[in-house]
Symmetry: C3
C-alpha cells in the first residue's frame, strides 16, 4: 500500500507521520535524498514531528522507514556539493545541524521505539543508542565506517557504543568499520531483538500496542530513571563530537576523504 | 530431602539459613507468601541473615531457593490488601521496605553468589546485578514487566540493567516486559553461566568450595575494587526509584494497574 | 621464518619490534621469562617500544606474540625469588612496575590493535580493555584467576571488566577464575572478533592496512573521543589496584598463595 496516501502527507516531504491511537509513527521516506539519508531538511522534518509528539497525547514514538533501507546516514551528495563552495562555513553548518538533530533525541522524554527494516549506516546507526528499544528484522545490517570516510564518530556513539558493547567491539565499528548483521548487532547489544522479515510488522505492532496500554506517567518516569543521570554526559559528548567534525570537515583532507569514499561507492555499483 | 530439618530452622519462617564451613547459605522458602515472593517479613529475614553473615567468619553468601521458583518478586497479594486500606501510607511503607532491602545488598562487603533454579521475576530479577556471580540452570527465566504492572523499576535496575546489557535490551525488559530464557539472560550479561539442571547443585558447590579456599581479605578487597566507585550511584538510584514508587503506588492508577495485573495472572491459571 | 632476524633485533631481548609502513608491530617473544610472561624487564621493553611509536609517524601499534602463547601474565618465578628476600620492598617494586606499565597503555593516544594467538592469562588478559581492537584466533583463551593466586585485579580490570561484560561475568573471571574460550570472550565483549588460526595473520593484516589508510588525525581524534572521559577513572583504578597489590603481596598470606599456585601448576605438568 502507498504509505504516502495517509494523513499528514501534505505536511512533510521526506518523512511520513501517522498519528495513531496512543502513539506517533514516524517513517523515513526521503524524496530530497537517496536511501533515506539525512540532510538538514530531512533532519528538520524528523525534529518537527518529534516536537509535535512530545507535546501531544502520544505515549511513545515509533520510528521506522519505507522501503528496503532504514537510513544510509549523512547525505554526502548534498554535503560535498556545498563543501566545495565554502568548506569552513558549510562544515560548521552541517555539524550544527547534526548537533541539533542529535540533541532532539537526547532530550526526548517519551520512549522512542525503532523498527529497523534494512541497512542502518553512519548517523542512521549511531542514533540508535539514543532510542529506547530497537527491533530489527533479519535484513537489517549496521555499519559506522567513520574513519573510512574521514570523519570522527557522531550522535554520541563515542560514548554510547563502548558502553553498550565494550571498547573492543565499539572501536571495531567506529575505527575499523566492521559491518554487523542483525544477529551480530543483537549479540553485541545494539539491537534488542531480531525478527523474521515476513512477520516483522506484526511482531512490532503487538509490542507497540502492549506498550501503549501502559500508563503514560509510568512510561515517562521509567525512561527518566534510566536516562537522566546520563543526559549531561550525552550533551557533552554531542558538543565534543560536533567540534571534532567541524575541525575534520573544515580541513582539506576531510573533503578528500569524503570524495574518495563517494568514488569507491560509485565503483561498487 | 527436607531442607527445613536443618539447623537455623527455628529462627526463620520464610528462609532457611545454613551456616557452612566458610560460607553462609541462604535459601528462599517462603511460608508467608507464594512462590518465594517478597513481602516486608521475607525481606527482613533475608536482611537479618545477611547482617549475621557480614559479621561472622563467612567468606561469602550463597543465595538460592527451595522448590521450582527462584523468586516471583513483590508479594502483590500482601500489598494490594493493604493499599486498599490506606494507599498513601502503605505505598510509602512498601517503598521504604524495598529501599532498606536493596540497600542491604548495595552495602554488603563480601561476595554474594546466586544460584537461580527457576523463574526470577520483578524484584527477584532486579536484585541480581547487586550480587556478584549469578549461576542459573536451564529452567530459570527472567522477567521485569514493571510497566505492565504499573510500576517503575526497582533495586537500581534503572541503572544496572543498561550498564550490563545496553539500553536497548534493558528497556526491552523494563518497559516492554520481555521474558528471557536462562541462555538469553547469559548472552545479555545478567547471568554468568548456565548449567544443566541435573548437575546444577554440584557445579555450584564445586565453585563455591574453590571460592571459599581463597583468602578472605583478597575476596573482600577484590569486591571493594569492583564495587566502591559505584556505591554512591547505586544509593542515589535506590532513592530515586523508591521516590518514584511512592508516587506511582500512591496514585489511583497505580492500584488499578496492580489489580489489572493480578486479574490477568488469575485468568492465566 | 625467524622473526628475530628482522630489524630492531639488536635493540630488544624480550620483544621484537618491526617498524612497518604506517604502523609499529610489537611482538612478545620473551627470553628472560617463560610463555611471554611479564617481569619488569619485559614490561620496560614494551613501554620503550610504545614510547617510540607514540612519537614517530606510526598511525597505530599492532601488539601480538611469537609462538603459541600470547602472554601468561606476571612472571611469578621472577617474583617469588625476590619476594622471599624482602617481601615489603619487592612487592612495592613489582606493584610500581605494573602501575607504570599499565599507565603507558592508559596514556597511549594512537590506536592499539591486539592479535591474540593463544592463551592470555592474568595481566596478559587484563591489559586488553586498555587496547582498542582485539582480534583473536580460535586457539586463544582468557583467564584472570586472581583470587586463586592470592591477588586482587590489575590493569584496571576491576573497572573495565564490569563495564565490558557486566558484573556477573566480570566477577566470574576475577573472583571465580573462569576460563573463557575465544568465542566466549567475544560473546562477552572482551574480544572484537574471532578468526580461524590458518588465516588469522592475513585477516589481521588486511584490516591493519585498511586502518593505516585512514587519516592519522581522524584515528587519533576518534580514540580521544572514546577514551578521554574515562582516563581519570582508569588512572585512579590503576592507583587503587596497585595499592591493594602492595598490601596483598606484602603480607605472609600473599606469598603463600603464590607458592601454592606455582606448586599446583607444577603438579599439572
Amino acid at each position: 500500500f502507498s504509505v504516502r496516501q495517509t494523513e499528514s502527507a501534505y505536511r512533510y516531504r521526506d518523512i511520513v507521520v501517522k498519528k495513531q491511537d496512543g502513539f506517533t509513527h514516524i517513517l523515513l521516506s526521503t524524496k530530497s535524498s537517496e536511501n533515506n539519508s539525512l540532510n538538514p531538511d530531512v533532519m528538520k522534518e524528523v525534529q518537527s514531528a518529534m516536537t509535535t509528539a512530545a507535546a501531544d497525547d502520544s505515549k511513545l514514538v515509533l520510528l521506522s522507514a519505507v522501503g528496503s533501507v532504514f537510513c544510509f546516514g549523512l547525505d554526502f551528495i548534498y554535503f560535498i556539493r556545498r563543501l566545495t563552495d565554502d568548506r569552513k562555513k558549510e562544515s560548521a553548518k552541517m555539524a550544527e545541524s547534526i548537533r541539533t538533530f542529535v540533541n532532539t533525541f537526547i532530550q526526548f522524554k517519551k520512549p522512542i521505539i525503532v523498527a529497523v527494516n534494512g541497512p542502518a549506516v553512519g548517523l542512521g546507526a549511531s542514533i540508535l543508542p539514543l532510542c529506547d528499544v530497537i527491533w530489527a528484522n533479519e535484513k537489517a545490517w549496521f555499519q559506522t565506517p567513520y574513519a573510512t570516510f574521514g570523519q570522527t564518530p557522531d550522535a554520541c556513539s563515542s560514548l554510547t557504543f563502548p558502553r553498550i558493547m565494550g571498547v573492543a567491539s565499539a572501536n571495531e565499528m567506529l575505527l575499523s568499520g566492521r559491518k554487523l548483521t542483525a544477529q551480530e548487532a543483537c549479540a553485541k547489544g545494539l539491537v534488542s531483538q531480531v525478527f523474521w522479515p515476513g512477520t516483522f510488522t506484526q511482531e512490532v505492532m503487538v509490542r507497540i500496542r502492549e506498550l501503549v496500554s501502559c500508563n503514560s506517567v509510568v512510561l515517562r518516569e521509567s525512561k527518566a530513571l534510566v536516562r537522566n543521570t546520563n543526559r549531561t554526559a550525552l550533551e557533552q559528548a554531542n558538543e565534543r563530537e560536533c567540534e571534532a567534525l567541524k575541525r575534520v570537515w573544515g580541513s582539506p583532507q576531510g573533503m578528500d576523504s569524503i570524495l574518495k569514499y563517494l568514488h569507491k561507492k560509485i565503483d561498487e555499483f
